[in-house]
């Protein structure tokens, strides 16, 4: 009881105290501030308006932002007799309803002729806008602040800089504060007032990998090509000598023409037109038209025409040369301060070095992911071809079957995650069955004729491809990855890798480990290796070679099916899906070394990373990359015909 009364008293006294604490005195209303600067607001000149804007911005009044927005939107009206500002709404006739700025209540009416609309010009509106940016940057809602930062980032203006500077101090969110500070430095690079502060900002970005940093720095180093008679006070990037380093004499002369320092020479085409215009009775200035089929003859005829004054005289090579000698040619930085350009160059160099390192890392990731795709596509082949010595041209079609299995499963299970989980074993089962069926019906009759296996399986391959076309049509079918595989793991602006590729990499690793385990640690693996090395001896040891061959082939085909699901996630699922991988897969197996899984890993890694490296040097042309890749493989096989990891001794078979 006692405590209850005590706490009631305490609460009461706290309430009283809160009421008694003096509120910040409303020294000014928004109307007062506007009145204070009434003259310059009404005048609306860009040069003098700043104090009014500053006063509004710094007033701390809650309605300041809205009033500034209204001002910017030309919604403020001023009553001519007492200079008071109002909002208006049109009533009938020329009468306007006056609305109070603060309360938003109607406070009377007025004739339009008694009022003046405040119409700030575009310069003033820009200044108001910049001040408004600061309101957004200091908005209590962090999302609004972030949005306005992004807006500035996208389209920076000089006026943003002071607004941004004013908004850093009060920022409470550490992330946003860092973002603001970074943006402030970026803006300082371009819009800073003194060279010193710009240089400090520039140098603060040394080693920064952000694209925005490079985007801010690069414009500083843009140059313009100029021709002058004598060097003046400009920030010269380099002097150019006509005829050297891609700067031909023709380029130099074109520059002179562009700057109105020389007359253009008459081009061959113009000469031809001039001659055509002056044909008289089958002759041009005494030269028969039929003889004018060389440039020399045309030059002579043109000179004759010029001598008669019918056409402007040509500028001879010698005259052009003289003009070039009278001038000097420079690439001049658009940025006047040499200290700034030096700092920007130095910083960009530092950035480029780091970017180069990171690009190498990115390239390595790309190569690795391509390698894991090749590995997945080829590992099944490595088992059938490498371990059993059977060329299976239909391997690509097993990949295709796997991809279509994934597609069909998605038709029945709409949840993408579940459907992928269901599709993987199903694809394995289907292609395993297909592989076993093929081995039983075709391949086992051809174990002693490897070249004919190649052709027979090719027959199966074209039949399967056409069947797939007949069943699923020729257009690509979607195999959609689950949502959690969308997007990419972004390490920085240079290095990133999509989740699908990581998933495929993991899948490849799992299969590598699994196959290694099966072949090296299980009874089946032992028997497979025995049959591989010497089928007759294995058979006499009691191993059922028929069964082993069948299971091995099924295993290789089943893995192709799983690879198909994985490949279908990022490639188009068509009937030709597999044939695109078959040659690549064979090369992976052959380059790596036939008959062992480590070899396939080595081959896939080499081919994958090499292809990415070639693509890096010639990014516009993946066809060229593939061409060089294949040529490289052909040459590589010259030197290591048995692949990177070659089996030796009896294990090599022949």
């Amino acid at each position: 009881m006692k405590t209850a009364r005590f706490s009631f008293l305490l609460g009461l006294s706290l309430l009283l105290m809160a009421l008694l604490v003096p509120q910040p005195i409303q020294a000014q209303t928004i109307q007062d501030i506007l009145q204070e600067h009434e003259e310059i607001i009404a005048k609306g000149s860009r040069r003098t308006i700043q104090p009014a804007i500053d006063a509004l911005r710094d007033s701390g009044l809650p309605e300041a932002q809205r009033v500034m927005e209204l001002w910017q939107d030309k919604a403020l009206w001023q009553r001519k007799d007492d200079k008071q500002f109002f909002l208006t709404e049109p009533l009938e006739g020329r009468t306007l309803q006056l609305i109070d700025l603060i309360s938003g209540q109607p406070v009377g009416t007025a004739e339009k002729s008694d009022l003046k609309q405040i119409k700030p010009n575009s310069g003033v509106r820009g200044l108001i806008g910049a001040a408004l940016v600061q309101f957004q940057l200091m908005d209590p809602h962090p999302l609004t602040r972030r949005d306005s930062l992004i807006a500035i980032q996208r389209d920076p203006k000089p006026t943003h800089l002071p607004a941004l500077r004013g908004a850093i101090e009060g920022e409470t969110d550490p992330d946003l504060k860092a973002l603001k500070e970074r943006l402030e430095r970026l803006l300082t690079i371009t819009y800073g007032e003194t060279d010193a502060e710009r240089i400090i900002a520039i140098e603060s970005f040394a080693g920064d990998l952000g694209v925005d940093a490079r985007a801010a720095l690069n414009p500083i180093l843009t140059t313009t090509r100029v021709a002058v008679t004598e060097a003046s006070d400009v920030n010269i990037a380099r002097q150019l000598t006509p005829g050297q380093n891609d700067f031909t004499a023709d380029d130099a002369y074109a520059l002179l023409i562009a700057e109105n320092l020389a007359y253009p020479a008459i081009s061959n085409d113009e000469k031809r037109l001039a001659l055509v215009a002056n044909v008289v009775d089958g002759q041009v200035a005494g030269f028969a038209v039929e003889t004018l089929n060389t440039y020399e003859a045309r030059d002579q005829a043109y000179s004759a025409l010029a001598a008669e004054g019918l056409v402007p005289a040509d500028v001879t090579r010698a005259a052009q040369q003289k003009a070039l000698q009278r001038h000097e040619f420079y690439d001049v930085y658009n940025e006047p301060s040499q200290a700034v350009t030096d700092a920007a160059r130095g910083t960009l160099q530092a950035i480029e070095t780091r970017v180069g390192l990171n690009q190498t890392a990115d390239l390595a990731l790309d190569g690795l992911s391509l390698a894991s795709i090749y590995f997945l596509a080829a590992i099944g082949l490595a088992i059938t071809f490498g371990v059993m010595g059977v060329i299976n041209m239909a391997h690509g079609e097993f990949i295709m079957m796997g991809a279509y299995t994934g597609y069909v499963v998605q038709l029945f299970i709409p949840d993408y995650t579940l459907s992928i989980i269901a599709a993987l074993p199903l694809a394995f089962a289907i292609t395993f069955a297909a592989g076993v069926a093929m081995e039983r019906t075709v391949i086992r009759w051809l174990y002693h004729r490897p070249l004919e296996t190649l052709l027979a399986t090719f027959g199966i391959s074209i039949a399967l491809q056409q069947l797939a076309k007949n069943i699923f049509g020729t257009q690509a079918r979607p195999l959609t990855a689950p949502g959690w595989l969308d997007g990419a793991w972004v390490i920085n602006d240079v290095v990133s890798i999509s989740y699908i590729r990581i998933a495929i990499f993991v899948l490849a690793l799992i299969f590598f480990a699994l196959l290694l385990f099966i072949l090296k640690r299980t009874r089946l693996g032992l028997e497979v290796r025995a049959v591989t090395q010497n089928p007759k001896m294995a058979a006499s040891m009691g191993i059922n070679t028929d069964k082993i061959n069948m299971l091995t082939f099924g295993l290789g085909s089943g893995i192709a099916g799983i690879a198909g699901v994985a490949i279908g996630l990022f490639a188009q699922v068509t009937a030709n899906l597999g044939s695109g991988y078959i040659v690549q897969s064979f090369m992976t197996v052959v380059v790596g070394g036939v008959g062992n899984i480590w070899g396939t890993l080595a081959g896939a890694t080499m081919i994958g990373s090499l292809q990415k490296i070639i693509e890096f040097f010639n990014p516009s042309n993946t066809l060229a990359a593939q061409t060089y890749m294949v040529i490289f493989i052909i040459i590589f096989i010259q030197f290591r015909p048995r692949g990177i990891i070659a089996l030796r001794g009896r294990a090599a078979g022949d």
Partner: protein, 390 residues
């Protein structure tokens, strides 16, 4: 006792006879010189088929006789076509340009003619300059030499590299397939200098034969193809019936033994590889003017595998087998995929051969490999043997 060439190769006379009757018959029935029973496009198809028979002979020599399953001979075929195609395209474009520039008020300079031709040919890939490989495109003689030289040199260098490092069996097949793939990928590029994906087109118009109708030109090419095929057949039969042929067959059957007997296996392989590449190139040079267009898709690796399919169905190790296989399969293929074959209604489903021909071909091929590895030629041999025994 050395028997005469004809006596050792009775098939040559029979073949030449059939070929002559066929060509004469086609000419008599054609629109150009005869009664017009066979359309011009059919004559072209027949002429193309003869070219395919010629390359099938080349394939048979290298695979059926020497045991090298080359999956690259269609690349040589295509290269031959490209070489002649360059001249055809250049000369024809030059004709067109000269005709149109003749209207110009003052005669064009050589430079202007050349850049106009370049624009016309390479505009489609966004260029107008002549790449270096077109340096001799204006000379028919040089391009004809290049038809032989370019594929021949490629085969020589590739073969030398491959055979020297003792790449054999399926490895060699994959390597030749890689070569074909590299070549077709290269040609697919726009800056390869051969118009990339567009290929060379308008090849059916023969420069210098202005006003001659296609129906007549098609007969010219039919005869040219027939003569080339006859010569190719005789050359193949002659090569394979002598000592050279015996060594080649020996390499197929047991390469190591032939090597131990002191023969330079690599040289023999290289010779047969290069010679067949040249035969393939000549076949290509005759084929593409009849086809009218050549593009990189023509020499994709799959085409070379089809070539092996023809030879296998026809029967390996018999020259006439290759011819029969190529003629039969390619003509059937044209018939089935051309939509002329009647559909088979099954009530619940109608079999359209356009959709099912590939399946039929694939299955047939598997069956032939499994049950008749000697192909059609093997069946003929058995019949002939039965006939002589009786």
């Amino acid at each position: 006792m050395q028997r005469s060439f004809i006596a050792r190769n009775p098939s040559v006379l029979i073949f030449l006879g059939i070929l002559a009757v066929f060509t004469l018959g086609a000419t008599i029935l054609s629109e150009g010189f005869g009664i017009g029973l066979i359309s011009t496009s059919m004559i072209k198809t027949l002429g193309k088929t003869l070219c395919l028979c010629l390359i099938a002979i080349a394939m048979d020599l290298v695979w059926g006789y020497c045991g090298i399953l080359s999956l690259g001979h269609f690349a040589f075929f295509g290269l031959g076509g490209y070489m002649i195609g360059m001249w055809l395209m250049y000369a024809r474009t030059e004709n067109i340009i000269l005709t149109s520039l003749a209207q110009a008020p003052i005669p064009p300079t050589d430079d202007e003619i050349r850049s106009a031709i370049g624009n016309q040919i390479f505009g489609v890939v966004g260029g107008s300059d002549f790449p270096l490989i077109w340096a001799f495109a204006d000379s028919l003689t040089i391009q004809l030499v290049l038809v032989v030289l370019v594929p021949g040199l490629l085969a020589l260098v590739f073969g030398w590299l491959a055979f020297r490092s003792r790449v054999t069996g399926v490895y060699l097949s994959i390597l030749t397939q890689a070569m074909t793939l590299a070549l077709s990928l290269y040609l697919f590029q726009n800056d390869s200098g051969l118009r990339g994906n567009n290929g060379l087109s308008g090849l059916q118009n023969i420069p210098g034969a202005k006003g001659v109708p296609q129906s007549v030109i098609s007969i010219w090419f039919l005869w040219a193809s027939a003569i080339a095929l006859a010569l190719g057949y005789i050359l193949a039969a002659w090569m394979m019936s002598g000592k050279f042929g015996s060594v080649i067959r020996g390499i197929r059957d047991d390469e190591a033994r032939v090597r131990f007997l002191g023969y330079s296996v690599e040289t023999y392989k290289l010779v047969i590889f290069t010679v067949t590449a040249i035969i393939a190139a000549i076949a290509g040079a005759l084929y593409y003017p009849q086809a009218g267009i050549i593009n990189p898709a023509e020499i994709a690796p799959i085409a070379s595998i089809y070539l092996a399919v023809w030879v296998a169905i026809g029967g390996r190790g018999r020259i006439y087998g290759a011819v029969i296989g190529a003629a039969l399969v390619s003509l059937l293929s044209t018939w089935f995929t051309g939509g002329q074959a009647p559909s088979i209604p099954l009530g619940f489903y109608t079999i359209h051969w356009v959709d099912w021909w590939q399946v039929l071909l694939g299955v047939t091929f598997v069956l032939v490999t499994l049950f008749a590895p000697q192909g059609i030629g093997g069946a003929i041999d058995r019949l002939v043997r039965k006939g002589t025994q009786l």
